[in-house]
């Protein structure tokens, strides 16, 4: 895949410079080495802080979701690589308004180790922290090992819901509980059509045949559940839908939000073709779709493919999802 950048080692730093130059109202760099992005008004006294972090190359995830009603700070890693312990600790410090800080991020080994370690470090500074791991990717482990699943686009719902709870000045335990409920209620699955290229590596993350696709592949190219012929939008969407419903059955009267997400190259047109199928099938089941999202919310740079996420709602999640929020990539 052809990419537009300068030197691979500057990819992330220059991206951060651009983000901050374009959106100074939303993002400021902080932390040693500038590897933290924070809301300019953070820390907000008395509000629970929410931090996330992870490898770069997934915009708008993670950084994109800083703002009122959303997150407070984000630790930035190299492309597809965990941020260091120091930026994570700095992100927690930047978000700490005295009411404690929730660490809310996707379940990846490196991120977990580093965030755990960062948590231990800031404990010395009397910052209380909690953790919620997003584990929505049903293709990455069976239901009996749910805690081992990777976190993918479901993050966006968790960010939104936790952010709304914190904005309402709930306590750290309440914010953590809401985030955990959101994480428990999210299910995702993706299909990859092409790889992407990590600038420092200079070659595609994996290879795949000209007319093949892989169902369940992870956002860094982690193996999925099945490789097969590229099929029609309805067949692909139907298979993803079944995988989600098998894991989290929905029945008449249930309310879900649905996110049809492009991994990067797959255009909006095709996401809407897929959404059309999901809307029809859920309508037939009597399931109501609330505030659907269709677009690029959690990507793997220029990878072709898409993911489908359900977030099952109850009264509380419904209200938190509808609460106002503001960032360059999501405004409600």
């Amino acid at each position: 895949m052809k990419k537009i950048f300068n030197r691979p080692e500057n990819y992330v730093v220059e991206m951060l410079e651009g983000l901050c130059a374009a959106h100074p109202r939303y993002f400021k760099r902080s932390g040693a080495e500038g590897r933290v992005l924070a809301r300019p008004e953070a820390p907000i006294a008395g509000k629970v802080g929410i931090v996330t972090g992870g490898g770069s190359g997934h915009l708008p995830v993670f950084t994109g979701y800083l703002g009122p009603g959303l997150l407070d700070a984000c630790a930035i890693g190299e492309v597809f690589a965990s941020p260091g312990v120091e930026p994570m600790a700095d992100a927690i410090r930047a978000a700490n308004g005295g009411a404690g800080v929730l660490r809310l991020y996707g379940n990846y080994g490196g991120d977990r180790m580093n965030f755990d370690m960062a948590g231990e470090m800031v404990e010395f500074e009397d910052i209380r922290t909690t953790t919620v791991l997003v584990t929505d990717d049903v293709a990455s482990a069976g239901p009996e090992e749910r805690h081992k699943r990777r976190g993918v686009a479901g993050m966006v719902y968790c960010f939104k819901i936790a952010g709304a709870k914190a904005a309402a000045r709930a306590s750290l335990d309440e914010v953590t509980a809401a985030a955990q409920k959101a994480a428990d209620n999210c299910r995702s699955v993706g299909v990859a059509l092409t790889p992407c290229t990590v600038p420092a590596a200079g070659r595609p993350t994996f290879t795949i045949g000209e007319s093949e696709m892989e169902i369940g592949m992870g956002i860094h190219g982690e193996p999925g559940v099945r490789r097969g012929k590229l099929r029609t939008a309805d067949e692909i969407t139907g298979e993803m839908l079944e995988m989600l419903l098998a894991d989290m059955p929905l029945s008449a009267g249930d309310r879900v939000s649905v996110l049809v997400n492009s991994l990067g190259a797959t255009p909006l047109e095709e996401l809407y073709i897929s959404y059309r199928y999901v809307a029809r099938e859920l309508a037939a089941k009597g399931v109501a779709i609330v505030a659907p999202l269709v677009g690029r919310y959690a990507t793997s740079m220029e990878m072709a493919g898409m993911s489908l996420t359900f977030c099952k709602l109850d009264g509380e999640l419904d209200a938190l999802l509808a609460a106002p929020c503001d960032c360059p990539f999501l405004k409600i």
Binding site: A81, V85, G110, M113, M117
Partner: protein, 199 residues
């Protein structure tokens, strides 16, 4: 006795070794991982070397400073794990300026426990933990630096050989199930290079 001085000496040796070993470790990690293991260790030992003149006499505090050198330069797994191990050893030696060599095996054990907790991994997963455990067992009761190093080196070699035919159960390499058989774990090999630099 393990002192700040002997730590400073060891840092110099490991730093020297990474000049040549980094490329090999990058390559090894690149086969089934992201190829940054050599970079991680070069950066960390470079930082250790820079900070070495200011190493405090308290062995615990000195080890804590070493741990921070790792967390400051890298976000990669290996750096965080070694930092975790060093922190555990730091806790066990805080307030002492001299630690008997006979305690080395126990310090390796403390590091092992902390790292296994941090990595949510177990012995037999074909990671640096298996190298560490082999060294811990081989050094039990030993009190002479040269003997410690020789025993550890020998034991880690044996552990690498023993695990070669097994699948990776942690880290990036884990996702390439069959491809991993017959390959050595880069983290174990890196640990071996570190030990050998002390001979």
């Amino acid at each position: 006795m393990l002192t700040a001085d002997s730590l400073r000496w060891a840092i110099g040796r490991v730093h020297g070794t990474m000049g040549t070993a980094a490329g090999e470790l990058n390559e090894l990690d690149g086969a089934l991982g992201d190829g940054d293991l050599g970079v991680t260790l070069s950066r960390a030992t470079q930082r250790l070397q820079e900070d070495a003149p200011n190493l405090p006499a308290d062995v615990g505090t000195a080890l804590f400073q070493c741990a921070q050198a790792f967390t400051r330069v890298t976000g990669s797994t290996y750096g965080t794990l070694l930092a975790t191990g060093l922190m555990a050893a730091a806790k066990a030696t805080r307030g002492r300026t001299e630690v008997p060599w006979t305690e080395v095996s126990a310090l390796l054990g403390a590091a092992l426990e902390a790292m296994s907790g941090r990595g949510k991994s177990a012995l037999g997963d074909k990671t640096v933990l298996d190298a560490l455990d082999a060294a811990r067992r081989a050094t039990e009761g030993l009190g002479e630096p040269a003997a410690l190093v020789a025993a550890a080196s020998h034991a880690v070699d044996a552990a690498i050989a023993e695990l070669r035919g097994r699948p990776f159960r942690q880290g990036r390499a884990r996702i390439f199930r069959e491809k991993g058989l017959g390959r050595d774990d880069p983290g174990m090999v890196a640990f071996k290079r570190i030990i050998d630099s002390l001979a």
